[in-house]
Symmetry: C2
Subunit: 343 residues, 2 copies
């Protein structure tokens, strides 16, 4: 099984581009063109809503396919317009009749742009991904009190926007402290109401995206953020902050045998390679719970910038990644079962 | 001339309610019902877009009527949907053929809810407004760089949302310092792009509303905020912050004679009164540039909360305000010209 994802429903989240699915199709097309038959069948898969940008839960399709999230729970998720995933899949014709749970395949491999600067800095053609760092997403809703910007003394305000900014500032302090290891934190969404120039914000909504390769330090970061929110509320009676968990995954290590095959195929093809941890979440981390899994990364230009219109990998870099993917898939499709770890 | 404003175009800004215009009409209706004829004619006026919530410039109608803003400049202002005031006035049938500049009247009085806690705390029925504090509005646009929330190392980010939060936090520090007198500062609008949970914000837009009764200290606050923005940009090469002035008014003192008449009428009617400065902007401050002007305030409930759905003044408080307004208008309509200061 060659992994990829394409966001058929979550068009708002289609940042990663079609490298995965096109790569998988290219591998199969090449094998067909060459009349190459494998011991084991090869399948290309597309998972929906990997980014989670529309329905708020990332790796949604693969999490359902791997059994971590139930189909009913997934269907009931709603987007910002109030449309449910279930209704939208029906409307767009993607609600098929097949069983949603995947039969565990022999192995799973996914090719992806790195979305970071590690490979470019190391001058490596290919990344052998050792695992995926833990991800914690929560949505915070701050309830203050609307008030007149000119007539309301500062000490009588419950400014939801100020509280939201305090959260952002605190997250920056947490990241730059040494208490949480390689913590990354991002507030990607901020919205205030009523959002008028001369009205103290009554409400603020924000999201907190935290990443950490160390599960214990992630728990510490979540705990300390929660403590900070409690203090913030205690300091200003009347202020309320509600937190809702959007997503949470722990550190996922990838299969050592599949990683070794990736490195070996890259060597065969004369490509330099480096091991690295994935900063981003991927469908592969869901597949890793049901079968031996690893990922092939290729470098991005401009410091590996991603989730940006400037995201770019050269055609040559893409070709090298797909070429390694093909070699790895051929090896896996020919291996005897006992030579690879079972989950 | 009895002042009032009603936001016929800027419905989004219609927070202040119709006390002014209904009060003015009630005074004229009462005089007509009683067959009372005055020496001087009495006019009720409504100004458009006093809040500035839709077209971004407050006191817009009165500023045009008093000659501070040209009709062409006003017509060319656009709302967040890109509609211009000129087009919207035509569309709604409010683009009348009359000359926009007012002939300076003998005097101008406006009745308004205080929108603050001073009168309630002082236990006063009526507020005699001494003037309006200076107002400074600016719009800030922060340009950072979109990036992947998981894969982008913190030191390589240009996070526009973090910069926006730093501005909010700095304004709070400025207010709580003793350097700027009675400065009030509000960030009422904050919006980030692309506004997705796992994308570092590429852009942030926010508004800064500052109020100060001391013009020199307001200039100091504006200067220091500007310095802070320069530092913020210097610290992170690539980050850009553009500032656009939305509105700026200096401290406006009200006419001493009109204020004295308000206090005297309140005394006559057995009402307690207190002098106070207006924290909010009002059309009266534009009228003050062309004729003797003052304002009558009435207390609001719940600590004088305003620009909030909880804003409320009792019918009795409103009646007392309109009753004083009527008394003041009758006196002004009968006064000989030499007994009142000319602008």
């Amino acid at each position: 099984m060659i992994g990829s994802h394409i966001d058929t429903v979550a068009t708002a989240g289609a940042f990663d581009g079609p490298l995965g699915v096109l790569g998988a199709l290219e591998v199969i097309r090449t094998l067909n063109d060459g009349g190459i038959e494998t011991e084991r069948p090869i399948e290309a898969v597309c998972f929906t809503e990997e980014e989670g940008s529309r329905f708020g839960t990332d790796m949604l399709g693969s999490a359902v396919a791997a059994g971590r999230i139930s189909l009913d729970d997934a269907y009931s998720l709603v987007d910002s317009q109030g449309n449910s995933l279930g209704d939208e899949l029906t409307r767009t014709g993607f609600a098929g009749p097949e069983r949603e749970l995947l039969e565990p395949p022999f192995a799973y491999v996914e090719c992806h742009i790195e979305q970071g600067p590690v490979l470019a800095n190391a001058g490596a053609d290919i990344g052998v991904v050792t695992g995926v760092q833990g991800i914690s997403w929560q949505a915070l809703a701050v309830h203050g009190r609307a008030a007149h910007a000119g007539a309301t003394p500062t000490e009588l305000r419950l400014d939801a926007g100020v509280a939201a900014s305090a959260v952002v500032t605190r997250l920056c302090e947490m990241v730059s402290s040494n208490r949480y290891g390689d913590l990354r934190a991002t507030v990607g969404r901020i919205a205030v109401e009523p959002n008028l120039v001369n009205v103290v914000p009554a409400k603020a909504e924000l999201t907190v995206d935290m990443r950490n390769p160390d599960d214990d330090l992630m728990i510490r970061a979540e705990h300390d953020l929660s403590e900070f929110l409690t203090e913030l509320v205690a300091r200003q009676p009347g202020l309320e902050i509600h937190s809702r968990r959007m997503a949470k995954t722990t550190y996922v290590p990838f299969d050592v045998t599949v990683r070794r095959i990736i490195a070996s195929v890259a060597d065969e093809q004369g490509l330099t390679h480096a091991e690295l941890l994935s900063g981003a979440g991927h469908d592969a981390q869901e597949m890793a719970s049901i079968c031996p899994t690893a990922m092939v990364f290729i470098p991005g230009e401009y410091g590996g910038i991603s989730h940006s219109p400037r995201e770019y990998s050269s055609p040559e870099a893409c070709e090298r990644g797909i070429s390694v993917l093909a070699g790895v898939v051929l090896r896996l499709a020919a291996m005897c079962p006992s030579s690879i770890g079972q989950p």
